[in-house]
Symmetry: C2
Subunit: 346 residues, 2 copies
């Protein structure tokens, strides 16, 4: 039998990059990787951009959401699908203006649950003032899809794109606790010690509009890279950056905001919490001269646990690597995640 | 037990309109149904539009493709996913410039098959000069999705939108044979007399760029409505138009181009061929003074079976209805399809 698709191919890990490269990126001519003057898969980032002709860019992104279970502590697939695509628009420097949703649902799925999911999605849109301008609706026969999957298209407009190019000297800033979403889903999927309380593991899923729009407005040109650390977590985001920019990124383990229960649970399972997905957090690479100010500004916006967690350096020996200064004082390579922690996290 | 999602909800039938209305359209404020100055779910059409500020519109559409089997006579899910979204952009008057794809694939799916599917998609893009600017890739555990589903986002630019508003006096024009795709998939799913030849049932799946761009260029203002008769077929498209415009549409059965084998097969199964999906056909509502010319022009473009099949009339008694002049001379109401012919047609 020939090779087959593996769970790891969809984990947002090294294997995901490899299959995308092999199936898609290497197969398409450079001129068809973007719209002239815009951004596409010539430089894979959170979203794509198309020039509008007046200096502004249209920002577009798509993601499929397959999270299992569809209802989880802190949210549901509706909130996730709306927030995730809104966040990818924001991470490219866009102001989200519209969403489209393509729903695939299993025959026999309770209409009441579908209604709750759609209502969650609409609630996010209403709160964000984002329009729902279209979508699609398909049903698959019972047993041919497990419950529901939703693809959302996020659309926004950017005066200036944040194309991820961390610069030597930059500080790495995170907006708050990392790994909450991944831990919460993991706990639901494989079980947890304290089922009742959910072990205090709650998804952080939320749109980051009220963080990113003021930040971009105030510090736009100082933000050299922005990403939401979803599949593959912080570990994947930083490795992508180090590799693409040919720098080395050094991170202070003790400075990374991780909730004790997330660290505890990840530890118990032998999983690196830095590879766990967040769905309501941002990682930024920011000019050193404004980094402290940016953190203070984030705190004022309600992101109390924002922190500088590391910095970007010109690479000599560790070009393209991420190094972690551990709590006990050592220095280890923080590798890009491999394999699959848990499927259907988002 | 409460109500559940049924196959018919996804068939592009009356039930689809009902569930969309109940779950989504009725739940969202008017101002959030579109981007100011554009087109959204305030007026459900093939795609949505966002004003670019210079008189032009950005046209965006999304569809999920779940066709079963993924390889079928005349194409595969890759060709279908690329062509379908390209066609929805065209039907709103847009020139397709970019595509995004979100793939969900089942663990264990042969990599070779996935490669063939992606190659098919890329081939369409290459032939059409449409860029692939982004996407998403997820894997679901074995048994949780049947093989593969792909959502594609079509993006284009329109100088002038074709917002479906058929006008009394208009002629209804089709670009060629109808129902080929539906018949081909149906035959594969439920079996056919002559398995070997496929009974001559071959999908018509293809992008309609070389039809629509010249047509819009030459006859733009005379084309009052354009739709690709996918799920629900011609019957659904015309019923939507009659209802939305408060007209009556009268169609000459003998003028509708249907291949004998499609008619034969549909008849045998007791299915109305006019409700079968096409994936490479267009239905237009065109000013009467240019209708003949438009058909000739289509033929010159290689659409040999283009034909005028009916007309739009100011409604007196049958406001909102579609009437079919049958071959034997009678007049019957052509209703919007109900229920589900066959799931996973597209
Ligand atoms: N889940 C949804 N959310 C918002 N709008 C939707 C949703 N599903 C469908 N719509 C809107 O309803 C209209 C009809 O959708 P439909 O999918 O039938 O059109 P289509 O894509 O042209 O047809 P097909 O899906 O058969 O190719 C479109 O305007 C579409 O944007
Ligand atoms: N099927 C695909 N076709 C084309 N480009 C793709 C495809 N899958 C991913 N990409 C591109 O690869 C890059 C990384 O995709 P990825 O899905 O990891 O980003 P993301 O959406 O920000 O993360 P997540 O999916 O975890 O939310 C993006 O630029 C994306 O557009
Ligand atoms: Mg992202
Ligand atoms: Mg994403
Ligand atoms: Mg659709
Ligand atoms: Mg359509
Ligand atoms: Mg469509
Ligand atoms: Mg993605």
């Amino acid at each position: 039998m020939g090779e087959v698709v593996k769970l790891a191919h969809g984990a947002g890990s090294v294997e995901t990059s490899q299959i995308l490269e092999s199936l898609i990126f290497s197969k398409i001519e450079e001129r068809l990787k973007k719209v002239e003057g815009g951004l596409g898969i010539d430089f894979p980032d959170d979203a794509a951009a198309i020039p509008m002709g007046d200096g502004r860019f249209l920002v577009v992104t798509v993601d499929s959401y397959t999270v299992n279970p569809p209802f989880f502590p802190g949210g549901d697939i509706g909130v996730l699908a709306a927030s995730g695509s809104i966040n990818d628009v924001l991470m490219l420097g866009g102001k989200p203006i519209a969403l489209m949703d393509a729903i695939i649902v299993e025959e026999g799925f309770p209409l009441e649950d579908l209604r709750r999911i759609v209502d969650s999605m609409l609630r996010v849109l209403r709160e964000e003032g984002v329009a729902l301008i279209g979508g699609d609706f398909k049903v698959m026969p019972k047993g041919q899809i497990d419950k529901i999957a939703i693809a959302t298209v996020g659309i926004g407009i950017a005066d200036r794109l944040i194309v991820d190019r961390p610069q030597p000297g930059d500080k790495i800033v995170v907006s708050g606790y990392l790994g909450d979403h991944g831990a919460a889903i993991l706990a639901r999927q494989i079980g947890i010690i304290d089922e009742g309380s959910g072990g205090g593991l709650v998804s952080d899923v939320k749109p980051l509009t009220r963080l990113m729009l003021p930040l971009v407005e105030k510090y736009g040109p100082h933000i050299h890279a922005a990403r939401d650390p979803t599949r593959g977590g912080l570990a994947m985001a930083l490795n992508d950056w180090a590799k693409a920019s040919g720098t080395v990124i050094i991170v202070e383990e003790s400075a990374i905001p991780i909730r004790p229960q997330v660290a505890y649970y990840a530890n118990m399972l032998g999983i690196d919490p830095l590879a766990l997905a967040s769905e309501g957090a941002a990682v930024l690479s920011v000019s050193p001269d404004v980094a402290e100010e940016v953190v203070e500004f984030m705190k004022k916006l309600g992101f109390d646990n924002a922190a500088i967690i590391g910095e970007v350096r010109k690479a000599e020996r560790y070009r393209g690597y991420v190094l972690l200064k551990t709590v006990v004082g050592g220095l280890r390579i923080l590798e890009a995640p491999r394999g699959d922690l848990v499927p259907r996290i988002c």
